[in-house]
Symmetry: C2
């Protein structure tokens, strides 16, 4: 998707250059994929209120850089990406596994086993809305073994976790109900509820996850219908909720009659430290709804996720699912199942843990070394993200634009904002980068941040500002 | 899904037997799939207001027939299906291709080519919300060649046509807007709009599709935001809208400012007669939204469909899609693309046309021979469905229950009802049956229908009713 364009006609940077840079950033950060169409100049001119020549000028530069291709009468298409067109670009922008880590050979072997099996015809036929039976049974059995599904729980296979958010919104928050979500939070989660018309309120998240002291008052004041939490390695902060806080939250939720949705995407990616039991496991009443997926470990492009929760609630979600898209793709469900049952998932996870541990360590060391005085950052024990808070004099959005010019990208805090503006916050997604690139990228960021900090200090003290290094 | 249970405590048939028969029908008709969970007796007892012993009795019979398996503490699971447990069952219930027609070898070869290609890593990574680029370009080019996409059109890949209905509902009818749909209609279409809170009004459908004379008044009176039509081989009636009616509808829609959505699932399955141009092709203003899919020709279990329409509208649908499930499964998108580009889709379609033609012919001949005096039925030139209207003295729902006992299933008209109750209507889905089974099934139905008609006539004339043959 084209990013939300923020053009400043007062800036010294020409408008066509601003436009060019913002689209380039989106392409390089992976926000616009190869093959995606960019609206034609006429349409863009109308929607952002620039004249067409300005837009044409920006497109000329994008084309000369090999990032887009213009086709007469058809519009323009993204043809370049970070890896192909700008091998030097280091992107901390995407919370997803590195493509070079994909277990391609194992995936191919798994696919072959699935398509050669006797189940192939069944996979190609329409299936049940609740999901491919053998996958549902496997996941439910695993969850029961781990103590995250009880006797009264059932499961629904969804098209990734995003669809689980969407279906929960439809079933529980279709009429303007209040929903508590973490602040900052993964934008896809926030948008699913906002688009559905829910009243969305942020729960402040710190280094130890949601602020439990603030939560009691929030529950009393806002009377939410449900709350959505990512207790392990939250996106974007990487923070993990301690077990005592989990117990307190469950108690508060029960007392307030609030449904708890646990987004459990990252807990399988713990690189060190002791496991903390899920809310679902701690919840003796059994009301918590647990969302899971293999996307962060294996193949994000195969859209398979799931929701585990009380049977009566899963039945309602399943009805909403049926009206929404009949059922999830069965080929991918069968492939994901075979990948898990064959032991390949567990073996691959070990590789991801080894690589992730090195990447996390490289990120934390480089943060300690490179970030300007007055910065702080989270120190997760797993997952894909570290959250940085810069000193008050710095604006993360501005710095992101500068960093782009030096071929390093990250997402500033405002992308993840719910109630608080997160001006000094930024997310570093490290899982897709080698330790070497992490060190190099953070060295570049550190230099930019420190230089800008000095500039800001001189400005404040009245000294003339030197050119940016 | 468990069917909507209709239990009559006044009936001579014991309640447990009614319950047993309705669940058995659902399993045999494919409405409940293998592995699906049936709610526990306690839960069912509450929701349908029967005592638990009655439900246990029904489950006992289902278990003894090998249709379900009960697991202590887990509930009951469907284990039998029509083909396995009741080889003699002939199902006219599902509008989908026959599994024995699935091109398994070609599917396997296609999959191998996809997973062995260099695109595999890209397929496994997160992709754009608008769909897998190479598939989008292929489909749009094909549509342009056929004249069904213009210069200002764009495309969105959806998870089957069901998701296209759902996204259109969200973008155009999320606030109680009025939507005109055909009556009778495919229930998935009706439910997508009803669940989204739209005001749904039926447009009467006859042998020649939507009644154009009635439509003008309906548009004036109901002031709809959009109308959804299936002009070719409509489900459930099989009717096709003549070209003059298409032109009139476009003119009426334009005058009333109503958006036209064309559900074009079946037009590739024309067995004889001349092709009729799509609404999208006839629409000079270019505002029509065309929905397509390969599900009815190739693999329904791979959830790939698409919507083609004006660029600005597709952009809004794409935003809704992103909030809904990020993007559709990429493995299936790549497989479907390769299947089409390799020429296998075209070759397979020829086989489907040959088989479909024989099946349609068998259905129409058997209908003419077997249906009771006073019946009528549509005579489609393609698709998967024939619609029967029985004489007024007969009730299709009652007959469906009787037919089940003789191992023939079909869906009575009330499943497809919007405004009119469709008591005498029924759908015969013939595409999944061999001509032999079609003839045998319709011979059984004919006997039941005629016998019941005689019974009704005797009853009316005061004669004592004999036992049902």
């Amino acid at each position: 998707m084209l990013p939300r364009l923020e053009l400043n006609s007062q800036s010294a940077v020409p408008l066509y250059r601003q436009l060019h840079e913002q689209i380039r950033s989106a392409i390089r950060a992976g926000g616009m994929a190869r093959g995606e169409r960019i609206p034609p100049t006429r349409e863009l001119a109308q929607s952002i209120g620039l004249n067409r020549a300005t837009i044409t000028a920006a497109f000329d530069v994008l084309e000369s850089e090999g990032l887009i291709r213009r086709e007469v009468g058809r519009g323009s298409f993204v043809i370049g990406t970070a890896t192909e067109q700008a091998p030097e670009m280091i992107s901390f922008s995407a919370s997803r596994p590195s493509e070079i880590m994909f277990p391609l050979d194992e995936f191919r072997a798994t696919c072959r086993e699935v398509i050669d099996s006797d189940d192939a015809a069944q996979i190609l036929q329409l299936g049940p809305a609740s999901g491919y039976g053998p996958l549902r049974r496997h996941l439910l059995e695993e969850a029961r073994k781990q103590g995250t599904a009880g006797e009264d729980d059932d499961i629904l296979v969804t098209s990734g976790c995003q669809q689980a958010f969407d279906l929960i919104q439809r079933v529980l928050a279709a009429h303007g109900e209040t929903v508590l979500i973490e602040d900052p939070v993964y934008p896809g989660l926030r948008n699913a509820f906002l688009r559905g018309g829910a009243r969305v309120i942020g729960m402040p998240v710190g280094r130890e996850g949601v602020d439990v002291d603030a939560l009691g008052a929030l529950l009393e004041k806002e009377k939410p219908r449900l709350m959505v939490l990512t207790p392990n390695f939250q996106n974007p902060t990487g923070s993990t909720l301690p077990v005592e806080s989990r117990r307190t939250i469950l108690m508060l939720a029960k007392r307030a009659g609030v449904i708890v949705v646990e987004n459990d995407l990252y807990s399988e990616l713990r690189y060190h430290g002791a496991e903390v039991p899920t809310l679902k496991k701690l919840d003796e009443a059994g009301d918590t709804i647990l969302l899971g997926s293999f996307s962060k470990i294996a193949f994000p492009g195969l859209r398979v996720g799931w929701a585990i929760g009380p049977r009566h609630f899963i039945a309602r979600l399943t009805e909403a699912k049926e009206a929404s898209d009949l059922h999830s793709d069965q080929l991918s469900q069968a492939v994901v199942l075979r990948f898990a049952e064959s032991g390949r998932l567990a073996a691959h996870r070990q590789k991801m843990l080894t690589a992730g541990s090195l990447r996390l360590q490289a990120t934390l060391s480089a943060c300690a070394k490179e970030l300007p005085v007055g910065s702080s950052f989270t120190k997760p024990e797993g997952g894909m993200n570290v959250w940085v808070e810069l000193p008050k004099s710095l604006d993360a959005s501005e710095l992101a634009t500068r960093a782009e010019r030096e071929n390093v990208s990250f997402l500033p805090g405002r992308y993840f904002a719910v109630t608080r503006p997160q001006l000094q916050g930024l997310r570093l997604s490290f899982a897709g980068l080698t330790p070497e690139n992490i060190r190099h990228g953070l060295a570049v960021l550190g230099l930019i941040f420190r230089t800008e900090q000095q500039r800001a200090q001189r400005k404040q003290s009245g000294e003339p500002a030197p050119a940016l290094v």
